[in-house]
């Protein structure tokens, strides 16, 4: 019983700290993107704009609220619930792995949660009665399905090398065993987190704000915060699976996401699909076969 209370307290603390990181990461992203574009980002609110996220938070909470379901079905709330539950469970697993508590199938929990996240974006987009959100939710769930494929292969590669799916911290040389897989994994991670060059959620306002077009104040905040939280957790797990170092590489990975957003245009959707299915899956399956036959 005491173990549960300890776990709860530690997870809540970790969730608060990650949300704080998300707040400052949003400001950091806006400032880095703006300096790439030779302008200053938000620099009026805090010292040099550092409190911008908190100002946005207060603004979003006090925006006008609509209780009717005339532009969005009630079913969309279930999508938001799934999103929140999955991201909170991801934070729980993050906390427990960092506290050296792990079981035989720790990585498989990650796989399950990433699959459930695909449902959430599908529901959120489909249940809004707007064609923009429908189009973007179909595209996003499709790319999330492809991410799941690659993630499953990576988990199997990890399992073959390290005798099970337990503690991911023991994996220190997987990147050197399978370097191409790491490059493919970074590309697919971009598509899962809906970052340019694979952002099909809103396509930089091609589909006007994508799946969250009919969501105002609180739910929009929830969707937005969960997206960045998932980005943090997945960049952590990717550097834990491949190398065994964490803190500085997570920050580098997050900055890398921002720099890629500022540097590359979006991949055309059919090019993206054929890239993943014709090249990446083939490479990963060849690695799987080689690793199996070597053991």
């Amino acid at each position: 019983m005491l173990v549960f209370i300890w776990g709860l307290v530690v997870s809540v603390e970790s969730l608060i700290l990650i949300l704080l990181l998300v707040a400052f990461y949003i400001v950091g992203e806006r400032k880095i993107l703006s300096y790439i574009q030779l302008r200053k980002g938000p620099n009026k609110v805090g010292v040099i704009g550092l409190l911008q996220s908190f100002a946005d938070f207060v603004k979003l909470l006090s925006k006008c609220k609509f209780g009717e379901f005339s532009f969005r079905s009630w079913f969309s709330l279930i999508g938001c619930m799934i999103l929140v539950s999955c991201s909170v469970s991801l934070v729980v697993i993050y906390t427990l792995i960092n506290s050296n508590v792990w079981g035989n199938w720790t990585l498989l929990y990650f796989l399950v949660l990433s699959s459930l996240l695909g449902y959430s974006t599908l529901l959120i987009g489909w249940c809004s009665w707007s064609k923009y959100s429908l189009i973007s939710s179909i595209r996003v769930s499709f790319s999330s399905v492809m991410f799941e494929m690659v993630f499953m292969c990576v988990v199997i590669l990890f399992g073959l090398s390290y005798n099970g799916y337990g503690n991911p911290y023991i994996s220190s040389i997987l990147m050197f065993i399978a370097p191409l897989v790491f490059i493919i994994w970074l590309l697919v991670l971009l598509s899962e987190n809906n970052r340019t060059p694979c952002d099909y959620v809103e396509s930089e306002s091609e589909l006007v704000s994508g799946i969250s077009v009919e969501y105002s104040s609180v739910l929009f905040l929830v969707i937005f915060a969960c997206e960045y939280l998932i980005m943090f957790i997945f960049s952590w797990i990717s550097f834990i699976i491949f190398l065994s170092i964490n803190e500085i590489l997570i920050v580098m990975c997050l900055v890398l996401f921002v720099m890629m957003r500022g540097s590359f245009p979006r991949l055309r959707f059919d090019i993206f699909v054929s890239l993943i299915w014709e090249y990446c899956i083939v490479i990963i399956l060849v690695y799987l076969m080689c690793l199996f036959s070597l053991l």
């Binding site: 549960f4 707007s130 494929m149 292969c153 199997i156 609180v218 299915w277 899956i281």
Partner: protein, 117 residues
């Protein structure tokens, strides 16, 4: 097992969190709502209907391919647990299975099913 329990606990906590957020949000209602903000984001007309989406064959086909590969990989997921106890007889069958998996992907590639077009 405690791990599992904690996960479920936090799952439900997340649900409860979102539910209370929603209740708080509904509670602070009372702002006047304009007619435009009550309809779907579209310019020039009011649509009362749910937007329809024509069925796209390409999405469906590639998702079916994903499902097949997913199920095959679920069988392969068991492999690391047996591998380190020197699976004698099973090793050949695993090899056959993985070869069949890769052969299936190669066939799909060869028939041009993986391309979007």
């Amino acid at each position: 097992l405690g791990f599992c329990f904690l996960g479920l606990l936090f799952f439900s906590l997340g649900l409860f969190l979102l539910f209370t957020l929603w209740l708080v949000w509904l509670d602070l209602l009372g702002y006047n709502s304009f007619r435009e903000s009550q309809s779907v984001y579209e310019c020039g007309f009011d649509s009362k209907d749910v937007s329809r989406f024509p069925f796209s064959f390409r999405f469906f086909l590639i998702v079916i391919l994903f499902v097949i590969l997913d199920v095959e990989l679920c069988f392969v997921l068991q492999m690391p647990f047996e591998l380190f106890y020197f699976m004698y007889g099973n090793r050949l069958y695993y090899l056959y299975f993985i070869v069949l998996l890769v052969f299936g992907v190669w066939l799909e590639y060869f028939n041009g099913l993986l391309v979007w077009k």
